[in-house]
Symmetry: C2
Subunit: 382 residues, 2 copies
């Protein structure tokens, strides 16, 4: 069991701010890479100024930047620029999430850097990517959630478009960017040369539309928000019991059979309306009524126990407190902590990539103060 | 520009079904890996039976399995098992998304396979991961969206918990699994030995809670659904104009200043209630009223043009048809096609990881018929 992660020895120069880029470099740091944040002197990463704060340090920033180091550099200043280029000399990966063209204005675009540092992998995570008519537009999460169609399929039929309650526009771009970086690392082992990874947040929203896109192209019909129901797998919904709602996801014929047996409704199995998944999806309304009629006889807890014993995918609808305190979540080390010199002990989400042979520490290094690792970083350059 | 992707030469044995696993192996195939689906004879991947259908072939299945090959093997049959083990002999990666313990029952668990094929990377994407109290439970997307807290923060204050309109529980697990696989490939180049990647869908839901988790741990307060508003960045919301809603995301002081100028409300900048992002988040209600008062004077289109010119992140709320037909989305090659022998031409989402030096084809190979590549796969073993 190695305490160094699999990316130990990989150095990342991280010019990213807010969420999409920092999310990608957070996972790189979790996997053992050395991540050096290069921040604007005085202000730093925008997320340093976003709440919630614990002892005046942003806990939001801390949760996304644990285990990274920070140096403040003004790239328009000659001396700082020299330091930056020296950092790139010994780096493997540069990650930035500026608007397209920003790095070129600093004379630090891919073409320039690739010529100077042919081994360097350059990863850009931007709102709209580095090509196409919108490439010079700025974007934040909600802009791409809205433009990419995700908000139009989220919500209840009468609620109108709804934002996903977490910044999925940023996070999916961070994850695709991460995969691009890891692909480039693998590629460089073969070719000896770095490549450019160009990930646009809007592109990633299209990439995650999954069956909404398949339905639109197959039928020409525009997918609508369906509340909590799955659009083409049935029964797959939130159902009311005697007290709380529960989720039941009986995704194939065998599970539907087991469900009917467990709720003591064997007659549903041979009902012509419910024979196949396609039939059940078409007759979702009457099927839901039939299922809830039985579910209303017992509590959510009782049903979750019975359905669980029968092997039917089901679960409670947890709030955030219930989710982060769940015994399984804790056992999987999905809530870790940092011991922050300013904020004290902070809890945050762990790394879901569990790898054999590598430890998965319950405590990670805290997020850096702005310019907090200057001496260490500069001495590494000597 | 290479027409082979960066993962050309990497062979993936793909036992995954439905969405999370197939999503990961789809990206591997997009990046050039040879992906061989090993499916149950007769029935195959569950997703083959999910609508929508085009000429009786599932377009949903097709969109997730483009560019892969298929062989049907019954792993309880000795002859088929022998073929399977021969496939693993020359494979780099095995991916499965069964419930924990299923592979062990087939005597094909990590321990057995790692001893037999030390270079093989083993990746498991399961509902709850391979350790912890829930590890033997089945799960589908909505179960983990509900248990992980995401549904509790999605929706409007009066709508109750809401499912994200795309299967984000599966997709994020697929993306973390993908990153785990790519990390393992990089790692194997160094060590010569494969590792096991264990990704649980519920873990991934915790990993994407981002500021909901920071807010909960900082304040002890349980995050609630906020409609379309960002919880800690303001103004960052859907606003009504003279006709449609538009998204405005002014994520820092400078953008707020520009917004106030553009809507001709300079007095808002010096208003004590709106001085910093923290102030604006606390006084979100009156700020929204003040902004909408001005926005109601012009159409959404007019405002998007003016706000866009001023460099303020903004956008329309597109439906799926508008999103997939958007000029920028098309220019970025985010809608690709396959020429399916059964369904004909199919359109689907492209690959958002754009890499320099590698082509990003507008047409990909179609999804395989069940057992459709048996001869080719068997002849490759000779």
């Amino acid at each position: 069991m190695s305490d160094n992660g699999p990316l130990h020895g990989v150095t990342v120069i991280d010019m990213t701010r807010v969420l999409a880029g920092p999310y990608a470099t957070m996972v790189l740091a979790d996997l053992g890479a050395t991540v050096i944040k290069v921040e604007m002197p005085g202000y730093g990463d925008d997320a340093r100024h976003f709440g919630p704060f614990v002892n005046e340090k942003s806990a939001y920033f801390s949760s996304l930047n644990r285990g990274k180091k920070s140096i403040a550099l003004n790239l328009k200043d000659n001396e700082d620029r020299e330091i930056f280029l020296n950092l790139l000399e010994s780096a493997d990966i540069l990650v930035e999430n500026y608007r397209a063209g920003t790095m070129e204005k600093l004379s630090l675009g891919w073409d320039v850097l690739h010529e100077k540092f042919p081994k360097l992998i350059y990863s850009a995570v931007s709102g709209f990517g580095h090509t196409g008519p919108y490439s010079d537009r700025p974007a934040y999460d909600m802009v791409v959630q809205a433009m990419g169609g995700l908000m139009s399929v989220t919500g209840h039929p009468d609620s109108g478009p709804t934002r996903v309650g977490t910044s999925i526009g940023d996070i999916t771009a961070g994850l695709f960017g991460l995969s691009g970086i890891l692909t480039a690392l693998y590629d460089r082992n073969r070719t000896g040369v770095g490549i450019k990874v160009d990930v646009g947040m809007l592109d990633c929203q299209i990439a995650i539309l999954e069956n909404a896109i398949a339905r639109y192209f197959a039928s020409g019909e525009i997918p609508q928000p369906l509340g909590s129901r799955h659009p083409s797998i049935t029964p797959f919904d939130a159902f009311s019991s005697a007290d709380d709602y529960i989720i039941i996801a009986a995704g194939n014929d065998q599970l539907f059979l087991k469900l009917c047996e467990t709720i003591d409704s064997p007659e549903l199995v041979n009902d012509e309306r419910f024979k196949t998944n396609v039939d059940r999806s078409e007759n979702n309304g009457p099927l839901k009524i039939a299922i809830e009629e039985k579910l209303k006889l017992k509590s959510a807890e009782a049903w979750l126990s019975e359905l669980g014993s029968a092997g039917i995918p089901c679960g409670p609808i947890n709030n955030v407190a219930q989710a982060v305190n769940d015994a399984h979540v804790r056992e999987r080390n999905m809530i870790i902590k940092t011991n922050d010199p300013v904020s004290g002990e902070l809890s945050m989400a762990g790394n879901p990539i569990k790898l054999s042979g590598y430890s998965d520490p319950r405590e990670r290094s805290p997020a850096p103060e702005l310019d907090g690792d200057r001496e260490e970083i500069l001495s590494g350059l000597k």
